[in-house]
Symmetry: C2
Subunit: 345 residues, 2 copies
């Protein structure tokens, strides 16, 4: 086959939805997971898109993921709750947690939900966008299987422990969604699968030396972004997720692309502090100032977090989503196993 | 004089306390500011220590800082409030905000306070340690006069917008307290005053080129830590502080060492989620794992955020606080003007 194919987002969504339904997932849950994964592809976050379908299905087959979870609250305070996801699909449990955080924020100004017992939650920005759509600010953390060394160390202790922060703004929120590593773990896996090398500074080999070989990086450890400061943030994410969420420490989580640790989400109701209009006016002043900053030589302009992903989503909506060979092959295997028609290319 | 002198922390505190009392600050407020600034010196955060005394006194003389502020709440929800600091000393207003956040967290699980109209708040870790002493986790942000370019830009838009996050742990909390620049702004100012050069990668000159000259850096712009990820965090801090706190955007704040933008503080009551004992046990497991990580060649071991500052504080408590020539000269000027005896050296 070609190096990549192009698929319409609606066709891709339909395929993913039908795959999860065939695997025994409720229709509305299958729909939710399909929306989530395809939005990641639209935004160019391919490491968190439909490449995960085969993995999630494996998690269901392995009995790790519960097809019909009974999500419950272990603790419930006015502004913070502890949620047991009963090993449901991460996308389903994390969305329920996000909705509860929003409800609490409406009532009390701020709401946080700490969640344990759930599978991979996907792209944190998905929950960020949900919070922003309610005119709220959000913070979202999660931890995952250990791949990252603390700053100064050579062994895997932390997951890539992503951080998402969001503020509403006109149609497109200001959305920061990033791994606390130099690079997302799945991107190293994808480089390893496609035989590409990685830049120095991303990872250590198992002897603790910097490496450009993604396979050696996977045996060794990834590095936090921003040196000791990124390490500090990564550790804070671990404390919020593994420990406050009553979940597993990153190095205790099974290393698969469908596993996750704890999920922490907070919503802050802006209107409990200021009118949304005043908020928007001030934010607009700031955004204009940022966009009008004289750029570096050779750069067109300064961007906001999430802006490049918004631009990519628009483009991919119009032109189709490029799917690389490895991902397409995995969808091919899923189609065969579940006797489904592949999306049109 | 010598390049540096050594002073006992108690003597230094007494001096600072008396200076602020002479400047018309209430006794208990003067005491609070003295404790705060000297703790910064003890921990080795000299840029936020007694070097600020002369500046704060200037802020009082300039009429920017209100000697007797009437701090009030503009909005008060169960878990979040908006506080008007009435241009009081930052250390006094921010401490009151922190105490209110703790109160709200006791009642509702989480409490946040957004604060505007206050002067320089000092070292964010001070408020972090206060939150941790109540067995709570904390997040603290503030913005300040513009010194930093967004990633991809060459002009000052943001303050050094520090981030503090804290979790309680045995006697010494896990305390991350960092500028969202490669380096704190005051350290560049101190380098400029002492005629030292700075490493490449810290700052741009006014043409937008990287520079090693701290004076050119002050005319140009500092750089965020961790490239575009640090820039994203810095922008989020700006949104939390300048905008949610109804304060000034960084580039609208008067550029002095006594000015500040908004102050955002959040406390999270761990016991509303889990027993503190369970929390401690899990945290201990994580800390042991981090400390036992095989270190880089030539490194003794891996440290926790704040640990080096704790070690320094212990050493400086026993051996005295080293005060550099510039700082000592500023204390000398304060002593002369207010007719005070200098601390013993």
């Amino acid at each position: 086959m070609r190096e990549e194919v192009k698929v319409w987002s609606e066709d891709l969504k339909n395929f993913v939805r039908r795959a999860f339904i065939k695997a025994g997932i409720k229709k509305e849950h299958a729909e939710e997971v399909a929306n989530h994964l395809v939005l990641a592809n639209l935004r160019g976050v391919d490491s968190h898109g439909v490449i995960r379908v085969e993995y999630y299905l494996q998690g269901i087959k392995d009995g790790y993921i519960n097809r019909d979870p009974r999500i419950s609250l272990v603790k419930d305070n006015p502004s913070i709750a502890l949620m047991n996801g009963d090993m449901g699909l991460g996308q389903i449990v994390a969305k329920e947690a996000t909705n509860l955080a929003i409800e609490k924020a409406i009532k009390h100004g701020i709401g946080s939900v700490c969640t344990f017992n759930l599978s991979h939650v996907g792209m944190l920005g998905y929950y960020g966008l949900l919070i922003a759509s309610k005119k709220m600010a959000g913070i979202i953390f999660t931890n995952g299987p250990a791949m990252v060394a603390p700053w100064g160390g050579t062994e895997k202790v932390f997951g890539t422990n992503p951080i998402c922060m969001v503020f509403p703004y006109e149609e497109k929120p200001i959305l920061l969604d990033m791994a606390s590593t130099v690079i997302a773990g799945m991107k190293i896996m994808m480089a390893a699968e496609s035989g590409k090398s990685i830049p120095l500074g991303w990872a250590l080999d198992k002897e603790g030396k910097q490496t450009t070989d993604p396979k050696k990086a996977l045996e060794g450890a990834l590095l936090p972004f921003g040196e000791y400061k990124g390490y500090g943030l990564m550790l804070m994410v671990e404390l919020y997720t593994a420990i406050l969420c009553n979940s597993k420490l990153s190095y205790e989580i099974l290393l698969t692309p469908y596993t996750q640790g704890g999920f922490y989400v907070q919503a802050l109701n802006i209107e409990s502090l200021r009118s949304f209009n005043d908020y928007l006016k001030d934010t607009m002043r700031l955004v204009k100032r940022i966009r009008s900053t004289k750029p570096w030589e050779g750069q067109e302009r300064v961007y906001l977090p999430g802006e490049l992903e918004d631009i990519r989503a628009e483009k991919r909506s119009k032109e189709g989503i490029p799917i690389d060979k490895n991902t397409w092959n995995s969808l091919l295997r899923v189609a065969k196993e579940l006797d489904l028609e592949l999306p049109k290319i």
